[in-house]
Symmetry: C2
Subunit: 211 residues, 2 copies
């Protein structure tokens, strides 16, 4: 990919305020975006997340009032809720070891060092009270990746942080995971005047320090 194309698409993207409710993301494109979520990197590869694709218009309508009433929840072609693992425990670590053993054809016993390291890391996070915050950060890696991937595929997106996690968890039936953020994806409406506003970013000299 040409570096100029990357920058062009990242300038093109914006937090879409109004989606065209009539336009739907083609299946092949959506499938690639889902695959990009599955492939998201995470610390130790633990993947402490669930991505909930809300297809039901009824459920989207229920989520809208607990999302600052934003129209994107119901108007966008696709709507994904990002949930982070709560109180990650040794079963999560064992599951990753089992999956690694399966996919790489390595006996679990040979992964004991990796397992111990993850258990030690988890223990430290728990002691510092940072376990769920750590999961949340991993989820934000996935969100950041999705926003970039979407922009490159010419898909508009809007991340929504202003959601009521407890309400979302109840409506979506989440257990052991908690909603953190949602992303609406689709195509901007021609009526969305915010699409044409200049992007507000601090200059590179302020944001990037060289040492």
């Amino acid at each position: 990919m040409n570096p100029d194309f990357l920058v062009q698409q990242l300038r093109w993207r914006y937090a879409t305020k109004k989606f065209d409710p009539a336009r739907r993301i083609p299946d092949a494109t959506w499938k690639a975006l889902e695959e990009s979520l599955v492939l998201s990197p995470s610390s130790f590869g633990l993947q402490p997340w669930k991505f909930v694709v809300v297809e039901s218009p009824e459920i989207r309508s229920k989520l809208q009032p607990i999302s600052w009433n934003q129209s994107q929840v119901v108007d966008a072609s696709h709507f994904v809720v990002f949930a982070g693992r709560l109180r990650l425990d040794s079963t999560d670590i064992d599951a990753l070891i089992a999956k690694t053993s399966e996919l790489r054809g390595v006996p679990s016993e040979k992964l004991e060092g990796y397992r111990s390291m993850m258990l030690g890391f988890r223990q430290k996070l728990e002691e510092s009270g940072g376990l769920d915050a750590w999961s949340a950060r991993q989820v934000y890696l996935a969100i950041g990746g999705l926003l970039t991937s979407a922009a490159l595929l010419g898909i508009d997106a809007c991340p929504l942080e202003g959601i009521d996690p407890a309400g979302y968890n109840e409506i979506l039936g989440l257990r052991g995971y908690s909603a953190l953020c949602a992303v609406a994806l689709g195509y901007r409406s021609l009526e969305d005047a915010t699409a044409n506003l200049p992007k507000v970013r601090y200059p590179v000299s302020q944001v990037i320090q060289r040492i």
Copy 2:
């Protein structure tokens, strides 16, 4: 961009364990990656971050021992430290209002509603003790975006969470911001056997729920 290309590149990427110290990212590619960081989305557009590009080999050598001694710190073509804003306050909000006013040609007074909303949001975060955690999540959006952008440009990368933030802050002279994570970028060494291991991801049916 073709959706298949996205998936192909995300499968190609991996957390590079060993970089080729002789290969350097071309300037135009690196410039695009820096620009992608500047363009990263953030909640309200507050950009609560600094990205420190560590060019000095001496400083990289100092960072290595407080980075689990990982070779990527010194071997990679480029090394970026991601720092999050500490105790974001009204001056950050005023700075964003001033920049918005400047770039969009709107008098600050007309942005008073936006300003109040951000101040209210900040106040709630402070009361819940989640102010710095919120900044950290925004930083992880930027990291997630960078990892995807790099993969698409054919650049290898490795995020390093195992760093000592206090040590990093001191060496880099960070004030008002704290190091959260670093990313090494460059080209994989042909000696890195981990490059050929199958990727370990849970299946889409486990990670993505449809409702």
